[in-house]
Symmetry: C2
DNA sequence: TATAAATCGGACTAATTTAGTCCGCGTTTA
DNA sequence: TAAACGCGGACTAAATTAGTCCGATTTATA
């Protein structure tokens, strides 16, 4: 349990590789996927999502690709994971408030407390700790 | 992401209720499922799993059910979750060592470090913090 | 200026995991 | 001996994740 998805995994692999290049270099999806033996199309989705979120910058057209656009020491795992995968929550009631057993649920309070601590844990880890 | 499964959720709801009863009381699955509006058969699986693991004790036969068998302050979320759901790991390579992209993977080391920290985080939370 | 190389994003299918159900069995109470 | 309980395997259904396909747009360059 607690797995991150493949899409996020591929995103991290790409970021790490891009960070190893000279600053400002452009890397494209085909190159990234071949070099790391990961499915091109799925990686492409991850790259697009990261570009939309501003972690990386698109360079469009032929000879295009992506380049790093942000300081990974300033991005937390908490925000990265939430953008890639949605809210970090142990139970659905942390995100939504229409749980069918809400009335008779006796554990939502303590679990939400633990959830907040878990988010804090991930907010203290920077993306750079993975990519550097 | 990071959701615990329904089975584990139901397990916690049951444990919390059982702990609210007089010490040594027996609770049965039907009663627990009705009281908390949760599917009986799925809860039954959770109870059986907890009994096998020694968290609770089976009382068999008619008027049977389960009673608490352990000190929840001494059980960590880490071990509870691992027993209910399997290894706590962000990536598969923490558990298994036959990842197809192992060769070209550049993130397994930092992720495994973070994984260890996450396990430590959960090992410092006791089951009693939820059920009490 | 045409072509090739690249991203964009929606729609789709396949695979895997999770959720939930069913049923025949053994045990114990009354 | 019948009813109430847990046991556990097999099964189906639902949801999520993984992976693919394709038509559109942008840009470099031959």
């Amino acid at each position: 349990m607690m797995k991150i998805t493949k899409k996020t995994e591929y995103a991290l692999i790409a970021l790490k590789y891009m960070q190893s290049l000279e600053s400002g270099s452009v890397a494209n999806t085909t190159e990234l996927s071949e070099r790391h033996s990961i499915p091109r199309e799925l990686l492409a989705k991850a790259m697009q999502q990261m570009a939309r979120s501003g972690f990386i910058q698109t360079v469009s057209g032929a000879k295009g690709g992506y380049k790093i656009n942000s300081d990974f020491t300033q991005i937390s795992m908490d925000s990265f994971l939430e953008i890639m995968e949605g809210p970090l929550s142990l139970v659905i009631c942390t995100e939504e408030h229409d749980c069918p057993i809400q009335e008779s649920c006796n554990i939502s309070k303590p679990l939400n407390t633990i959830n907040a601590k878990m988010k804090l844990f991930f907010s203290n880890i920077s993306l750079a700790e993975i990519t550097s």
